[in-house]
Amino acid sequence: MTNGDIRSPNRGRATPRHVIAGVLGLLIAVVGTACAGANSGGATTTLTVASVQNDAMTDLKKLVPDFQSAHPNIKVNIVTLPEDQVRQQVTQDVAAKSGRYDLFTIGTYEVPLWAKKGWIENLAPYIAKDSAYDSSDLIPGIKSALSYKNDLYAVPFYGESSMLMYRKDMLAAKNITMPDHPTWDQVAAAAKAVNSSTVSGICLRGLPGWGEQLAPLDTVVNTYGGRWFDMNWNAQLNTPAWKDAVTFYVNLLKTAGEPAAGNAGFTECLNAYNAGKVAMWYDATVAASFFTGDAAKNSGYAYAPTKVKDWSGWLWAWSLGMPSSSSKKDAAWTFMSWATSKEYMKLVGTKLGWARVAPGTRTSTYAIPEYKAASAGFAQVTLDSIAHADVNHPTVDPVPYIGVQYVDIDEFQQLGDQVSQEFAKVIAGSQTVDQALQKAQALAAAVGKIYQK
């Protein structure tokens, strides 16, 4: 249970320390700047952490007492919010420099953008001082995605790429064997072969949103040879590569995809896959750790399907960063280095179970025998996919932006959502691929103009 909606009446005002000490014990609330009062005394530092709501973060919340018993002078309040909310709240907080949060979870999308603006603190000096924090152990793809000018600006808490998951038993019944590195044509053929009235061939996200439908679709576009912008920031959505990729995606959904594709996001596909209603699923590598029953027993894992470009998997990491305006940087580093350390991985493994260890951050995690046993089928695919995902060279032709399943510019949240909505309309059958791409091209061209100046 989170007490996020209980707000301290003293919010926004510095309060005497003894009051804070008493009240904070009871309220795990958004106390914001009230904490500054506690800090000035120098005894106890309270860190307010804005965190995205996912399983890895829930586990972190459970293990905070372990951190506090080792660091009695640092108090940690974790405020968990759904993904879209945390993004809005943290963006507003950091842009207005209001100092409500001392630490926050941000993704690979935010880190280079905010580092460039000077909104988040360069962590290189802290890492240099902290000999125990082995940053060379971080998986290379993730490390470069969280760096700006070769310095880390956030430390990964959880990382993922994308892969194809499939039911070995269902494919075997049609005499299909899935290669480790399938092409999209092979996947489409397999999906159509196993598709029946009770089981759909494949689940692909159709729910609009740049973090939902557009993520897998973007990786298809990339491997088909498409890109959002050319080196001069001219929008490229009217090119044949985009048309082929989007047509392929929509047709695959229509002929062998899950029913009601327009509503299907990560959660819906996971439920369908676990219920045995879809034979294959192309999504985040983390999905495999949520499989139950037959899905857990009979699943095979393949690398992200390709067309022209190899290694088409996406790259995402939830990571911890601190605002450069923070006055509690040392305490914040103490906590964030603990939560992303090798020891923390072991702590999760021994206390909560090895299957619960957040994947995709440290190479050393994949050498732990217990973890290997708990993630037998997908550990290698996850590790390799993340290591090969290159945010700087995501496409066949060179691009002026970074990001695999997104474009790392401020305008992309809005642009991505709008473009994704146009594709949703195609999936719903209310417009053609050409109509959608024409509108998308106009939207992207308007954004590209900003960068041509």
Partner: protein, 316 residues
């Protein structure tokens, strides 16, 4: 009109006291108003200052994500309101949504109110049940519609329609505007019903009795006697309702997120989208200002109708 406006003045307050005002000194008048001051200050603080700031920001090109983007841009944001196709679509969607929701819910509300005004079995229970949709939180209501009723995989409606071959229709994505209208009609029909029912119950049953004796059919009596009587109530319901329906946000956010495409993006949703996905504060402020002006126009009309009801009441 005369009796009406004098009554109105006494209802509204200070103005009506003018008749005897000569004896009350200016100072005393202010002393009487003094207890209202905290409320007045509060209203100014929480409504007028934010609004003034919004107007101020609307003249600036300000994107929260762009350092140094805060600069005066005159009427640029307003000019974009006229030229941007996305904004025109949102205005059109708002009009379509508001008009259809109000029209349909008034007709349904009238029908239900007429039913509840007659002698039927279980009237009390029925009335309570009819009001229920209005009492359910919009967000929860929209989720129930989206997941429990309309979900093409496990929803109630697709299951019921399976025998007719409509079992796998994705209503929300296939007919987005119709779905939003349906959900909003479901929410607003009880509101219309309550207001119209109040009007119907003020009707003297003897008048209808007399009409029947004079040989009027029930339809004629409804058309010539009941309808003119409840007309101001219908107008009031429609105008108050449209004030709220213009601002519909919750159900759109939950049901369609403004899509697919821009099919259900209305002004409030567009404002949210521009402000919190694009972080374009200047543009969002301009949209907000225009939305407030539009709502104020509707509200003024609504209040006028409200007063005309007082006049009708006063005449009787």
């Amino acid at each position: 009109m005369n009796t009406g406006s004098s009554l109105l003045r006494s209802v509204v307050g200070s103005g009506g006291a003018r008749g005897t005002a000569a004896s009350i000194s200016r100072r005393e008048a202010w002393l009487r108003r003094l207890p209202l001051l905290p409320a007045f200050v509060y209203v100014v603080l929480v409504t007028q200052i934010p609004f003034a700031l919004t107007v101020y920001y609307s003249f600036f090109s300000w994107n929260l994500l762009k350092e140094g983007s805060f600069r005066f841009s005159g009427l640029d944001n307003y000019a974009r309101l006229l030229t941007d196709e996305g904004i025109r679509t949102a205005v059109l969607n708002t009009v379509v949504l508001t008009f259809s929701v109000i029209a349909i819910s008034v007709v349904l509300g009238m029908a239900v109110a007429t039913l509840l005004n007659s002698e039927v079995l279980g009237k009390g229970l029925m009335r309570t049940l009819m009001i229920a949709p209005f009492l359910i939180m919009p967000t929860a209501g929209a989720l129930i519609w989206k997941d429990t009723l309309l979900n093409p995989l496990f929803g109630l409606l697709p299951n019921l329609l399976t025998p007719f071959g409509l079992g796998r229709v994705d209503w929300v994505n296939r007919f987005p505007m119709a779905t939003v209208v349906a959900v909003e009609v479901w929410r607003w029909t009880p509101f219309m019903m309550l207001i119209i029912l109040a009007g119907l119950q003020s009707q003297n049953p003897e008048v209808l009795e007399a009409a029947r004796v004079d040989g009027a059919t029930p339809f004629q009596a409804f058309r010539r006697i009941t309808l003119p009587l409840v007309r101001p109530f219908v107008e009031l319901g429609a105008l108050l309702g449209s004030l709220f329906v213009v601002q519909t946000f919750d159900s759109i956010y939950m049901l369609t997120y403004g899509g697919p495409g821009q099919d259900t993006t209305n002004i409030p949703f567009l404002l949210y989208f521009v402000a919190f996905q694009g972080f374009n504060i200047g543009q969002a402020s301009a949209i907000g200002v225009v939305a407030v002006i539009m709502t104020t126009i509707v509200a003024t009309l609504g209040l006028r109708t409200l007063f005309s009801i007082f006049q009708v009441e006063a005449r009787r």
